[in-house]
């Protein structure tokens, strides 16, 4: 196994032995279950309510894991000094970062799969149509989580867990508002506002591009081209952020 693989496997193993993860999964199960109860209270659109809440729960729990595990991925290793013995081994610092990222991504993938299985069981139980749009939405949720994980990991290489959490959360929120910012840039008459809004638009991830939950809940799929473009966008953005994390980590003293 390569050094990246060894670090990734260990990161995955660490999350498997963390009870918080199981609690979050239980919470996701409860949320999806709650969607059924709420759907029963509505007069119409039972299916939309179940799909909305199911996809929302997968997204919410995924983001919680990505941020709160991601922010401590590197920072915790430095604070607890476990990084000393690892960096004293014949592995590059970039391999360490890539290993940590791969490990958490694998953890997220397994979690998404479990949550999706619970969600699909609910869909099947209520004889709802199992449309392709549901799978597309989950695919893009996973891509969004890869982006959020990369951002959390990036901040984790140079700041404390609390600050990393705040910054990552900030990126996540702004990432869902960038389309509005672009609109603001277009409408504003001030050159300064235009410039700032345009900068923010390009610097922050456009996470709304990865959010198709609304139309997926009513069974409308996106085109294959859009799905691939959005996926590629997310992966490239995450890759650039991870490269930034490697650059910071390579330069720092422990």
């Amino acid at each position: 196994m390569t050094a990246i693989g060894v670090i990734a496997f260990n990161t995955f193993r660490e999350s498997l032995r963390d009870k918080i993860l199981y609690n979050l999964l239980l919470f996701a199960g409860l949320l999806i279950g709650l969607s059924v109860m709420l759907a029963d209270l509505t007069i119409t659109e039972h299916h939309k309510m179940i799909a909305d809440m199911g996809l929302g729960a997968i997204n919410l729990i995924g983001v919680v894991i990505a941020i709160f595990v991601g922010i401590s991925l590197v920072n915790k290793e430095i604070e607890r000094r476990t990084v000393y013995t690892i960096m004293a081994r014949p592995i590059s610092r970039a391999s360490f970062i890539l290993g940590k990222y791969t490990g958490l991504t694998l953890t997220l993938f397994i979690n998404i799969m479990i949550m999706m299985a619970i969600f699909l069981l609910t869909v099947w139980f209520y004889r709802m149509p199992m449309t392709i749009s549901l799978f597309q939405a989950v695919q893009l949720i996973f891509v969004e989580l890869m982006v959020v994980t990369a951002i959390a990991l990036f901040f984790s290489t140079f700041s404390s867990s609390t600050l990393s959490a705040i910054l990552t959360l900030g990126f996540y929120v702004i990432g869902h508002l960038t389309v509005d910012l672009k609109g603001l840039a277009g409408k504003s008459e001030s050159e300064a506002v235009k410039a700032v809004a345009t900068c923010v638009y390009y610097a922050f991830p456009n996470l709304e591009m990865l959010n198709i939950k609304g139309q997926a809940a009513v069974g409308i799929p996106v085109g294959f081209d859009y799905l691939m473009l959005a996926t590629l966008y997310g992966l490239v953005y995450a890759a650039v952020i991870i490269m930034g994390a490697c650059l910071v980590f390579v330069r720092r003293d422990f």
Binding site: R13, T82, Y84, T85, M87, A88, P90, I91, F254
Partner: protein, 321 residues
């Protein structure tokens, strides 16, 4: 052949605030450690020991100077295949069992699965943790963690072993085990470079020592050379059936006399007075029980160097070899 060559190594940590001076952890430190040698790196807390070790392992970058490990610049990734390291007060992944933990570090060192299993068994036996092999590290005592830390440093059978305060947290039995382990490494031709402030351990096992204070190397060399060079030996005489109260010769020669009944302890400041004192004891009918020459200890040298550092301006401090 030297496994470690350090030349004029300096490290200044920026304060993080503009205008505030940076903290100088190392200042022009130079030393060498030969192959198969046990080198004790001594100094009080904050002297620069850990910073030196971190630079050697590539965890910290030097501000200036060079550090060569096994013929390659410090920080070279491939060289670390032949280096083992135990940090001070180590914290490890406590969710791993002892077996998984050693397997993880073995894999990181590039060992294949087939080679790791027998090494794990050998090392667990070596550090006396065979019965804890399936126990998670979170259930380990401090001493056990120190021993499993040593095992991880040795999992890939490195040529050079760097240990930061390896005796910390160990009881006397544990300290003896670590001393024996270090001596065993030297017997197998390995080089051991370790930092400590537990001086008796160093005196017992080190071939050479270096004393570092405030980032400067104040003395380095073989323990007996450093200690003999500057300190006069004292001699302790124990005798029976004698009262030295009215012996002017003994009272003049002795630095200290303790008389308890018919038994007497006489401490002489040097060996030159020994013959005359023993003759006086015999002349007075005393029975000689023991004559023990006392070398000045490393501890004496350590405190002497500390005083020299306090009294001498930094720019005038020179290394004593």
């Amino acid at each position: 052949m030297n496994d470690i060559v350090i030349e004029k190594l300096s490290k200044a940590y920026p304060s993080g605030w503009p205008g505030r001076p940076s903290f100088v952890a190392l200042s022009g430190l130079s030393l060498t450690v030969g192959r198969g040698e046990i080198f004790g790196f001594l100094g009080p807390n904050g002297a620069g020991k850990t910073t030196t070790l971190k630079i050697l392992l590539g965890l910290v970058r030097a501000t200036s100077g060079t550090a060569i490990l096994l013929g390659k610049p410090a920080g070279d990734v491939e060289t670390r295949r032949r280096v083992g390291f135990l940090p001070e007060s180590p914290y490890f992944y406590d969710y791993l069992t002892a077996e998984e933990f050693l397997g993880f570090y073995g894999q990181l060192a590039g060992l294949d699965r087939a080679g790791i299993a027998p090494r794990i068994t050998t090392l667990l036996e070596l550090v006396g943790l065979v019965e804890a092999r399936t126990r998670q590290l979170r259930k380990f005592s401090k001493g056990m963690l120190q021993r499993i830390g040593l095992a991880q440093a040795l999992i890939h059978d490195p040529q050079l072993v760097i240990l930061d305060e390896p005796m910390t947290g160990l009881d006397p039995v544990g300290r003896k085990q670590v001393r024996d382990l270090i001596l065993g490494l030297r017997d197998r031709g390995k080089t051991v470079f370790f930092s400590t402030h537990i001086l008796p351990d160093v005196e017992m096992i080190c071939d050479r020592v270096g004393i570092v204070m405030k980032g400067r190397l104040l003395a380095s060399g073989r323990v007996e050379d450093l200690v003999d060079q500057e300190h006069t030996q004292s001699v302790e005489i124990v005798c029976h059936e004698i009262n030295v109260e009215n012996s002017s010769v003994i009272r003049t020669n002795a630095a200290r006399v303790i008389q308890q009944g018919r038994q007497c302890l006489i401490v002489l400041p040097n060996t030159e007075l020994l013959d005359e004192t023993v003759a006086e004891i015999r002349r007075r009918g005393g029975r000689l029980v023991s004559v023990t020459p006392h070398k000045a200890s490393l501890e004496d040298l350590f405190f002497q160097e500390e005083a020299r550092m306090r009294e001498t301006p930094a720019e005038l401090l020179t290394e004593r070899v």
